[in-house]
Symmetry: C2
Subunit: 395 residues, 2 copies
């Protein structure tokens, strides 16, 4: 009986698994690889040699271990030589990074986001990429690019179906960037910012080893990246995780989506600023700084700011409790501007979670802030770009 | 390079895949197996022979095909000889079936559920099992039992953490049944009724081939079985899918869970009966018949019943829209008493879905009733019992 996956498939799977370990751990000894992958030493040696042969990893003797015996070689990702571009298109700014295999940010740029269609955002992204490309060693290899965007992204082709706070509808963001730089970028993948933050925290942040987690990301809008049973929950077309449009308050305020009382209208930036009596008119200061100024005012005793923080914290806990009942996660991560809201209103959040969450669904849930901070979107976008390489390293 | 899964692992995987095809399809030709599994004919022949050797499948020549050439042998599951017991513990009744490999219901019993702890429900289940066992051919083999229960089930050991409408807390349902029948039942697995209905509809019902679906099950309580990316979403401890305790109406009625305005308080049996002015006091008629009588009254023009159906349908659509925004499913299935509510209030449900669901998340969603009807819970419980056999048929 010799059926099953072909030797070629098995080899591809093993190469991918090994490269993923090296990519995630940053450096790992051959001995650890042997034990983690459950393969024998000679196989690990051969797989590593194959990956080293195409320049994906390098091997070297470790520093003196002080232990007897021949020390195991250390395998490292070739971060300087194999890289992706990662971009984050946010309401107020665009960021672009060059990220080496292993998740190492090698270079980074930032600019305000030009208003208008996707093409307006693509131009400065493309300029940054060209700019950074000038400093890349000639023998280095670009895998492609990943873009995180605050919108609903069609999995199939990366079309941004809706980016309400960007003013976008049906914008072919990925294709537009690739059309700008066909020679620099072999492929461009696009994902929702919350999904990619969840992916990044799961790969190398606060959620490593955690199979069931929800990353709630807030700025003007609110969305979630959800991982269940170790896999991303993105739905049929890629649009899952639109928790910001879970209606929590049927008698609440009108939402931009046409509905009323969406979670986003209760916990987004506008909700906090409005509740604190701040200016929310178009052109008024928004974003993390504006949110932080309310949180700081609350900490200094400003009564309106304190009420605002409590009220938004209350709704934050309300929606999180709903999600905990639905997903029974181990971990909820608060990112974007919700990080600061959570830190200021952790008591409200926990209290709501305790009153609405069922004891069994909430008993093991930890509430946390991101480990990767603002880099999560870029690192997640880079993970998206690396996915194909990790699935088939020699392909 | 000869690393990767061992030959033994590959063989186990192939045997499981082949047996699963036969189990799900009921009968399938060797030629179809060859093409479905992507293995060559001799491998399929050898795998089939192994499974036939231990009595899991049988092969026979097909009826005259009218085509030239030697017809491909047809492989069938040995439904008469390999079976599991399946039980469904519901608020008002218990049901027990003997289900053959291939999902064939061979025998079935039903009784009112005795009130009290799990042990009270286990006694008649055990009696039914013993009774049915008397008719089983001596050479037949029992794989174990699966139980569907309307409660929160700990994945690890099948403990029913909470069965609010059964009056249960921390009831070791599975262990209790196995302790009653250690010689008849090699293993007992327990699952939530909505999860198992979803599993059954996904395996052999309306959701075959559908990777993203939500089965909303209602009786007194409301829960969902969720499949995302082809895999069950059950959460960290197994308690996911408690959509009945998603709060949809913060100013709503008190829920038995201690919270207020849970979805269950707006769409469960009590909500419909109460809204229609029916008696909801303890001991009053409940269940499918009571729900159907309201739905029928509405169809006959009873104004109170019509209002009740519209109101509950409205809340049903409201919660479904929230779930569609979160999961972007292809399919939502309405089971239990919600089947009839949905059929009577489809317009309200669709209207709410259209107003709250984002166009991208709802565009491909189909709303359906179950194909397997009331058998879904039992067939799902049987699938749970068969899982281990399908993972390792010769183990």
């Amino acid at each position: 009986m010799r059926a099953g996956p072909s030797q070629e498939e098995i080899r591809r799977q093993n190469l991918g698994a090994l490269l993923r370990f090296v990519h995630v751990r940053g450096q790992i000894s051959r001995a650890e690889l042997t034990s983690e992958l459950g393969l024998n030493r000679s196989t690990i040696g051969a797989l590593t040699a194959d990956l080293a042969g195409v320049g994906l990893v390098s091997e070297e003797a470790p520093r003196e271990t002080g232990r007897a015996g021949r020390p195991s070689l250390v395998v490292r990702p070739s971060s300087d030589l194999v890289y992706a571009y990662a971009a984050s298109v946010e309401v107020d700014r665009i960021r672009v990074a060059r990220v080496g295999l292993g998740g190492v940010v090698l270079d980074q740029r930032e600019a305000p986001r030009p208003r208008g269609e996707a093409i307006e955002a693509v131009r400065p992204v493309a300029e940054f990429v060209k700019d950074m490309a000038a400093d890349v060693p000639p023998q280095a290899r670009c895998i492609g690019a990943g873009i995180a965007v605050c919108g609903l992204v069609r999995r199939e082709d990366g079309l941004v179906r809706l980016g309400p706070h960007l003013g976008w509808m049906d914008e072919p963001l990925g294709h537009a960037l690739q059309d700008h730089l066909p020679e620099l970028l072999p492929q461009v993948a696009v994902g929702n910012v919350a999904d990619l933050c969840a992916l990044a925290e799961h790969t190398r942040g606060v959620a490593v080893g955690c199979a069931n987690l929800i990353y709630v990301y807030g700025d003007v809008g609110v969305g979630a990246g959800i991982i269940a049973g170790g896999r991303r929950v993105t739905g049929h077309g890629g649009y899952g995780g639109e928790v910001g449009h879970m209606v929590v308050n049927p008698h609440g305020r009108a939402c931009g989506c046409g509905s009323r009382g969406c979670w986003e209208t209760e916990i987004g930036e506008h909700a906090l600023l409005r509740a604190a009596g701040r200016d929310c008119s178009p052109g008024a200061p928004m974003g993390t700084d504006a949110v932080l100024s309310v949180v700081d005012a609350a900490a200094r005793g400003d009564a309106a700011a304190q009420t605002a923080v409590r009220q938004v914290g209350d709704w934050l806990g309300f929606g999180v409790a709903n999600l905990v009942n639905i997903f029974n996660p181990e971990l909820v991560i608060f990112g974007g501007t919700l990080r600061d809201v959570y830190l200021a209103a952790a008591a409200q959040v926990r209290s709501r979670l305790n009153s609405i969450g069922l004891p069994a669904t909430r008993e093991h849930v930890r509430l946390r802030t991101p480990k990767l901070g603002n880099d999560a979107a870029l690192l997640g976008a880079a993970e998206l770009a690396f996915e194909q390489l990790l699935a088939d390293p020699l392909g």
